[in-house]
């Protein structure tokens, strides 16, 4: 069972829900932190590092003496990563999507591929949780290759449930993160900004054609527009997590709420119950 946790707006509580959902499960579970620009689950789950390595993608490099400035590489590059100045090709590595077309097509064989490091893969063990995170290097623009590497751990954890924490927004990193999951939990907050982004995220999940449900976080903050919208549109509300000063205080200290307050353990256990039922029933009606 692969559950993706997403939202449109940042700060609605994806990591809060992911980390507490993972810990509340009690049995062995995997959590893949795909928010590679800000993988924060470790702040709450802590745990010890069991594996750490660099991840690299392939980018083209030029053998300058062989390049005759023919511009074939520039023409085949779908990502505008190559230009030709002074009769020689110039590669902008940060724009490269590692498709390899330029290297393949260069008539002079002037391009070859080299490793370009983009970030770290870090695996931690925290009680019942196997936490895998991608940590993108500062200044790197492409999150997707690192997200794919984090998601490759799905194969390692075939026998246990997997929670996948998505980056905010609804662009490529979020789509790559939720793709191929069994169910998407959209975390929403009922504020004007939160509602606006919630609807964008909802449409994205519909486009990817995955079953979904909503967790209203900070319930009681703002108004009831998210709840009203869900009811009117037959979107299942999986849980409501109350807005409270105690939650905010505990979160700001890096506590896992389910470890300090049994009433929240209960909320997350009920959320698990909802998820189990919906995933096992195929949840076709929510697509």
């Amino acid at each position: 069972m692969k559950i993706a946790i997403a939202s449109g707006k940042g700060g609605t509580g994806k990591t809060f829900v992911s980390s507490n959902l993972a810990r509340s499960y009690k049995q062995r579970i995997a959590l893949l932190d795909c928010d590679v620009e800000e993988p924060n689950n470790k702040l709450f789950l802590k745990g010890e590092i069991v594996e750490q390595r660099r991840h690299a993608v392939l980018v083209p490099k030029l053998k300058s003496d062989l390049c005759d400035g023919c511009r074939v590489c520039q023409q085949v590059c779908e990502f505008n990563s190559i230009i030709v100045m002074g009769g020689k090709a110039m590669v902008f590595e940060d724009l490269c999507h590692s498709c390899g077309a330029c290297t393949l097509m260069c008539p002079q064989k002037a391009l070859y591929e080299v490793d370009h490091e983009i970030g770290n893969i870090i695996v931690r063990k925290s009680k019942n949780v196997e936490l895998v995170e991608g940590l993108l290097d500062v200044g790197k623009a492409l999150a997707v290759p690192l997200i794919r590497e984090v998601k490759s751990y799905i194969d390692h954890f075939k026998d246990i449930p997997i929670i996948i924490d998505s980056p905010p927004g609804t662009s490529c990193p979020m789509v790559w993160t939720i793709e191929n999951s069994d169910y998407v939990v959209l975390v929403a907050e009922s504020t004007a900004f939160g509602f606006h982004d919630f609807k964008i995220a909802l449409n994205t999940v519909k486009d990817v054609d995955l079953p979904y449900g909503v967790v209203i976080n900070k319930h009681g903050l703002g108004d009831n527009r998210v709840e009203k919208y869900c009811i009117e549109n037959n979107i299942p509300i999986l849980a409501r997590i109350p807005f409270s000063k105690e939650v905010a205080t505990s979160y700001s200290k890096g506590d896992l709420l389910v470890e300090v307050d049994p009433s929240y353990q209960k909320i997350f256990e009920q959320l698990w119950e909802e998820l189990r039922n919906r995933v096992s029933s195929g949840a076709k009606d929510e697509k």
């Binding site: 990502f79 505008n80 230009i83 030709v84 110039m90 724009l95």
Partner: protein
């Protein structure tokens, strides 16, 4: 001397465009014979990324030695400056006004890129 101006249209009367990589046109004005031509940049307007460096390529290829625009990002700036093109910062209504101000030497030279990258 060829002068390049970022423009919303294909004539000297067209409104000036303060963007660099995603300006719809580049007007290339030749101060020697007062002629001009327009380079269509529509491909780069639609580009998901890399518009700045591809626009820089067009301008370097045009043979312009002067660029009049408002904002220049780091990657495009690297190419423009490496090619020996001088950049002058301008905020005006039309392409013609930008050229007039440059010819009257009333513009300030932009010595390095002035906005963050937006990949």
């Amino acid at each position: 001397m060829k002068i390049c101006v970022t423009s919303s249209g294909a004539t000297l009367e067209s409104p000036f465009d303060n963007r660099f990589g995603r300006a719809p046109y580049f007007i290339i004005y030749n101060s020697d014979d007062k002629s001009f031509s327009a380079i269509d940049n529509s491909v780069n307007i639609k580009a998901s990324q890399g518009a700045g460096i591809q626009a820089a390529q067009l301008i370097v290829d045009s043979g312009a030695k002067i660029l009049l625009t408002s904002n220049l990002g780091p990657k495009a700036g690297e190419l423009i400056y490496a090619s020996g093109i001088k950049v002058y910062q301008v905020e005006v209504e039309s392409v013609k006004e930008a050229i007039d101000l440059y010819l009257k030497k009333e513009l300030k030279e932009l010595k390095e890129s002035n906005v963050e990258g937006h990949a």
